[in-house]
């Protein structure tokens, strides 16, 4: 999956890929103060050709909100909401909302799931439907943070660490290794990284084709831009 981190000002973005095997679960958000955790499990294509890179996507997300004893498991088939011992299961074919005190989910059928906590936290999980007879690809999910104001400054995770401001400086823009692309040097978190100008897709407005977002691409699975190595974010269970 590709990660896209908005940087402001100026309105720019940083992006990186995490390549891991299908079945690996990555921690995206962990806020020890609010007890909110988001993990995502990777899936691959239906089959892969020999010696070719395995493309991975998110096929399942697990959200935990300990304060309210709430858990959610979102797959490409359905949305399961656990409240204590109770389970409520919504299909993606429904247009529905479920409102708890201070927590709500809204399903726009076959399109997206919006999770809100109070007025300061909003996530969107996009459903990408693929033609079911496609020889390679299968349905997958996307995760977007729209508002993260309520998270504490101790929030971690591949996305969560960027919920609080970081400084990055991009300089020495130069012709890149790939023809037509430019490289630059990014100074971030005490590291000097070579980054490449490229585009990544944001599918919120146009779920089919996506909207190109120009970004500085950080190589090696975001190494240097993210805290530690991407393998530090591998967790054993969805919850």
């Amino acid at each position: 999956p590709h990660f896209l981190i908005a940087m402001r000002p100026p309105n720019d973005a940083v992006c990186f890929n995490i390549d891991e095997k299908p079945g690996v679960i990555l921690n995206l958000v962990t806020d020890p103060v609010t007890g909110f955790v988001v993990n995502g499990e990777l899936i691959g294509d239906k089959k892969t050709e020999n010696n070719k890179k395995v493309n991975t996507y998110f096929g399942k997300f697990g959200l935990v909100y300990n304060k309210m004893e709430l858990r959610m498991e979102i797959t490409t088939q359905e949305i399961k909401l656990f409240h204590g011992a109770d389970i409520t299961r919504f299909p993606w074919s429904a247009t529905a909302t479920s409102t708890h005190a201070g927590f709500a989910i809204t399903i726009n059928k076959e399109r997206n799931l919006i999770v809100t906590m109070g007025v300061d936290v909003t996530f969107v999980i996009l459903l990408h439907r693929v033609w079911k007879n496609h020889p390679l690809h299968q349905d997958f999910l996307g995760f977007y943070t729209l508002d993260n104001h309520r998270f504490s400054s101790q929030t971690l995770g591949l996305l969560g660490q960027f919920y609080h401001p970081i400084d990055a400086e991009v300089f020495n823009i130069r012709p890149g290794f790939d023809q037509g692309k430019v490289d630059a040097t990014m100074f971030v978190k005490g590291h000097k990284l070579t980054v490449t100008r490229g585009n990544q897709k944001d599918y919120r407005l146009d779920p089919k084709h996506g909207t190109d977002v120009p970004c500085w691409f950080v190589h090696n699975s975001g190494k240097g831009f993210i805290d530690g190595n991407h393998t530090d974010y591998i967790v054993s269970t969805l919850f």
């Binding site: 409240h83 109770d86 409520t88 299961r89 919504f90 429904a94 479920s98």
Partner: protein, 623 residues
């Protein structure tokens, strides 16, 4: 159900064809029963058409074709039909009336004389909205031809737009030999069942003339369902919305069992009640709260408050139930008021969850004869005490109960009444009812449709939705230019408030309708009429006289328009003049709750003749 046969002279009167053709679309079933009989005798003979149909069905048409002449039944207002029928009644002729038979069925019976070497074709059409109970729809066709039939066929076509989750077919008369004759094909949304036994296969024994087909042909199925807004069928300007979500956590319930232990409950009824209560106690969820009040001339509380259904409390409750014994009179008023008070206290003191369903289940086998015994006063006391906060379910055990009293009291308090038949399975009937209300899934369900675009919508708010059931709402689309049909559902589940939306573009609906080729085109309109009439008839039970008249007029008007035989309408069937004392049952359709009476049978004369050129009317009545 089907039961077509000549009662006598079997060899001379032959049913050469008998067919039940059933089409079900979106739970609405239309059954056409056709019987063809030939008189092979040298003199006229009486042919009897005797069919059983579910009590919940409405007869929609009946016709006879005799010697090429078609005699069609005409639905008329009950009083008008009665006047027309007066002369025949005076002569003691009651052919063609409908009467209740057993727990679930009604018998439609009509006879006609047919001349030597002539044929008669009977055709009965009835329609029914199949109701989902305990997670399935059930359709029963009762089969009992009294002779072997050359062409015998049961043919069922089922189309469910949501997809068919499972489909089972069984029959009480099916032996291992007959089982392979039942053909079932199921492909996603469509299914076809056919049963066409040959003469040999119908025989009860090798080379004998007795039929082995005697019993119920039962089809059960359910549709695919999930937690969504359900499914809406729109055809010819009428919509029907089926809402029965799955995958929801259950809402805890608080139940007060009010158990009659008067003298009349002694022996079998008490034994069966205890048996059922023991089973119900074992099925209680640990999140539920419960209480017992037993009564005869006075009442006795098991505990002073509702308690959680913990293992220890349930064990103690078993002991209490085991010690129940019968004796004394029947005071229904006081224990019901006490039950309401127990629930009030539990809510006021916060002993029960805020999101929970509170209900009173009354089991009684008799009329109130102790304490307050005026039924009207009891109803008003109970309504005041419950104050629209709890559901009251009344189970009338046996035939000594005043069922109409219980029915009105239940409906006034958001519940239903159910008769428990005195039989070996009474305990199972009690458990079965309890299971229907044992698992509430949603509270305060409201279904709303495109504003100003719909009219004549049937009931669309429900205090609870129970697991295994289904909510059905129908209405008329008043806006001819409507582009998008929108249904919004609001409800509360165990933990959250849920809203769901169903949107469908009207152009898409037309396409779907054309593609799917509905089994019968105007079924949504007829289903709407069926549902509206049923609800109007039920509402009549609990309203004042002025409103009752309005509801009655509306229901009657619809029944006449859609040709339904209901408690407000009758069907007149004109047939050739017969002898006055035909061998017939004196039959009326009793209203549920009346004590069933024995059918009176009159002996037939040895023969009868057609009086050529003369006609009179017989009637199909249902009240």
């Amino acid at each position: 159900s089907v039961d077509g046969h000549p009662t006598k002279q079997v060899k001379e009167l032959e049913i050469y064809s008998f067919k039940v053709d059933c089409k079900i679309t979106s739970r609405f079933a239309r059954n056409v029963v056709t019987s063809r009989v030939v008189n092979r005798a040298n003199e006229s003979k009486e042919a009897l058409f005797d069919v059983q149909l579910p009590k919940t069905a409405f007869i929609a048409n009946f016709s006879m074709i005799i010697d090429g002449v078609v005699y069609v039944g005409v639905v008329k207002e009950k009083e008008v039909a009665k006047q027309q029928y007066q002369q025949a009644v005076a002569r003691g002729q009651t052919a063609g009336l409908v009467k209740v038979t057993g727990r679930k069925m009604e018998k439609f019976k009509v006879s006609v004389n047919i001349a030597a070497a002539k044929k008669v074709t009977f055709e009965l059409v009835y329609e029914e909205l199949l109701k989902r109970k305990l997670g399935k729809y059930e359709m029963v066709i009762r089969v009992k031809p009294e002779q072997l039939v050359q062409h015998f066929q049961i043919d069922v076509h089922l189309f469910e737009p949501q997809g068919i989750a499972f489909l089972d077919v069984n029959a009480t008369f099916l032996t291992n030999d007959l089982m392979p004759i039942v053909k079932k094909t199921l492909t996603g949304k469509k299914a076809h069942i056919s049963f066409t036994p040959t003469l040999d296969q119908q025989s009860a024994c090798t080379s004998c003339q007795n039929t082995g087909l005697d019993g119920d042909f039962i089809m059960t199925y359910d549709v695919d369902r999930d937690l969504s807004a359900g499914n809406i069928a729109i055809v010819n300007g009428y919509f029907v919305h089926h809402f029965g979500p799955a995958n929801l956590p259950r809402v805890p319930k608080n139940v007060v069992f009010v158990i009659d232990q008067s003298g009349s409950m002694m022996f079998t009824k008490m034994f069966q009640t205890k048996e059922a209560l023991h089973k119900i106690l074992d099925d209680l969820n640990t999140e539920d709260n419960f209480a017992f009040i037993s009564f005869s001339s006075s009442f006795r509380k098991w505990k002073n408050s509702l308690i959680r259904a913990t293992t220890a409390n349930v064990v103690e409750a078993h002991k209490y139930v085991s010690e129940l014994h019968a004796g004394g009179g029947t005071n229904i008023n006081d224990p019901l008021l006490e039950a309401a008070k127990l629930l009030d206290d539990a809510h006021n003191l916060g002993q029960v969850p805020e999101r929970s369903v509170s209900m009173i289940i009354l089991l009684t086998d008799g009329d109130p004869n102790s304490g307050e015994s005026n039924p009207t006063k009891i109803q008003s006391n109970v309504k005041y005490a419950i104050n629209n906060k709890y559901n009251l379910y009344c189970l009338g055990f046996g035939y000594d109960v005043k069922y109409s009293f219980l029915e009105k009291m239940s409906i006034e308090n958001s519940g239903i009444a159910r008769r428990i038949y005195e039989d070996s399975d009474a305990a199972l009937q009690l458990q079965g009812f309890y299971n229907e209300v044992a698992n509430p899934l949603l509270l305060n369900v409201e279904l709303q449709y495109s504003q100003n675009a719909v009219s004549d919508v049937t009931r669309s708010t429900f205090k609870q939705y129970y697991d295994g059931s289904e909510i059905v709402v129908a209405g008329r689309i008043a806006d001819n230019d409507l582009d998008m049909f929108v249904a919004d559902i609001r409800a509360q589940d165990a933990n959250s408030n849920i809203t769901m939306t169903y949107e469908v573009s009207m152009s898409e609906v037309d396409n779907i309708t054309q593609q799917q080729q509905y089994i019968f085109g105007d079924f949504t309109e007829r289903m709407w009429a069926y549902l509206t009439i049923q609800q109007l008839l039920q509402q009549r039970i609990s309203v004042g006289s002025e409103e009752k008249k309005l509801l009655t007029d509306r229901a009657r008007e619809l029944a006449l328009k859609y040709n339904f035989v209901t408690p407000l309408t009758s069907m007149i069937v004109t047939k050739p003049e017969e002898q006055m004392d035909q061998g017939e049952f004196l039959a009326e359709k009793p209203v549920e709750g009346d004590r069933p009476h024995q059918a009176q049978k009159y002996h037939s004369p040895s023969h009868s003749r057609i009086s050529a050129g003369s006609y009179h009317s017989t009637s199909v009545d249902s009240d």
